[in-house]
């Protein structure tokens, strides 16, 4: 048990847990519309841990969808986690016991993936567990509260709280962009492409989860083909960067 990493994970998980509380609160409102009880909302959020995926699930459940439809849409809405899981598989030390792979996968979300992958060196599962300890309750309790309270908080506050998630994304992607110009250019291209795809007719009707998958495959694919990283990013030289005081 690595208590230092656990505490760091807990600390970094706090903004995530708070953001989750707000986002899942509004998710709870759609769970209520689908006819779920607070406990059912809690259990769904505890077990699925996905905003877009759950939103789609609640919509489908409310509409009385078939089990097959629900399964297929869950795969599509959550397909980006397949990519993140591949990326994470490369950052585990060969010495880390297998059980940690099963446990870390349980709460592999955009934000928890982001903070784990943003740390230098091999993944430390205890860092992730520390973050899970705040993120999981935040997410599940928020959903249950949303079902119970409906619209308790004023809409403006809910909206402002949901921005905390995007602030965290920025804190993850911007510092590396300062050091790696390819990453900087990729972020700008991603912003522009994502904006266009959300506004252009026909394309904008594709769900945002699916758009995220398609854009990720295309942009990261072209970048990997044309601009492979100059220095191979390995846990070893990421550690070296840290020792030089770089803020990875």
């Amino acid at each position: 048990m690595d208590t230092k990493a656990f505490r760091e994970g807990f600390r970094d998980g706090i903004p995530i847990g708070l953001g989750y509380l707000a986002v899942s609160f509004s998710l709870g409102i759609s769970a209520k519309q689908a006819g779920l009880t607070p406990l059912q909302g809690f259990v769904t959020s505890f077990l699925e841990n996905a905003s877009a995926g759950e939103y789609i699930a609640f919509t489908l459940i409310g509409a009385g969808a078939t089990y097959i439809e629900l399964c297929l849409m869950t795969i599509i809405a959550n397909a980006r986690y397949l990519l993140m899981s591949c990326a994470m598989s490369q950052r585990f030390s060969p010495d880390t016991p297998m059980i940690h792979r099963f446990l870390v996968a349980f709460d592999l979300t955009d934000e928890l993936f982001g903070i784990a992958i943003g740390r230098p060196g091999y993944l430390n599962p205890y860092y992730s567990y520390g973050a899970f300890l705040v993120a999981l309750p935040g997410w599940s309790i928020g959903t249950a509260a949303g079902v119970i309270a409906g619209n308790l908080l004023p809409g403006d506050i809910v909206k402002a709280l949901s921005v905390s998630l995007f602030g965290m994304f920025l804190a993850i992607i911007i510092p590396p962009a300062r050091k790696d110009k390819v990453v900087l250019v990729l972020i700008i291209i991603s912003f522009a492409a994502s904006y266009l795809c959300s506004r252009l007719p026909v394309i904008r009707d594709i769900s945002s989860g699916t758009r995220t998958i398609i854009l990720t495959l295309i942009i990261a694919g072209i970048a990997a083909w044309r601009f492979p990283p100059q220095t191979e990013i390995t846990p070893e030289n990421a550690d070296a960067q840290k020792e030089q005081g770089a803020d990875v």
């Binding site: 953001g19 459940i61 592999l108 506050i157 990261a220 083909w225």
Partner: protein, 101 residues
């Protein structure tokens, strides 16, 4: 609701866990292929960037409030502030921006 709610919940729980756990547990060795390594290195940045914009301006009371939060967030992250300060500042700016604009 026409199906059984607990079967619905089981389906989303099992499906979403399999998506997350299969690559992590099946890919045990370091991937040697240079393209795949590079691709996986770039994936998180592209995914998070795509999810941030324009979602941030669509999430706030007005697009301008979201744009202000975005610019402030980029600036603070560039200056090396951590997750928590950037996240909180973005919330406050989005809220105030929503009141003013």
């Amino acid at each position: 609701m026409s199906g059984n709610i607990y079967i619905y919940i089981a389906i989303v729980a099992i499906t979403s866990y399999l998506i997350r756990v299969l690559p992590l547990t099946l890919i045990r060795k370091p991937i040697k292929n240079r393209f795949i390594r590079s691709f996986l290195y770039y994936v998180p940045y592209v995914t998070l960037a795509v999810m941030t914009f324009p979602a941030i301006i669509d999430a706030t009371a007005t697009p301008l409030a979201g744009a202000l939060a975005l610019i402030a967030g980029i600036f603070m992250a560039w200056k090396g502030l951590g997750l928590f300060p950037v996240a909180i500042a973005c919330c406050i700016i989005a809220y105030l921006g929503g009141l003013i604009f």
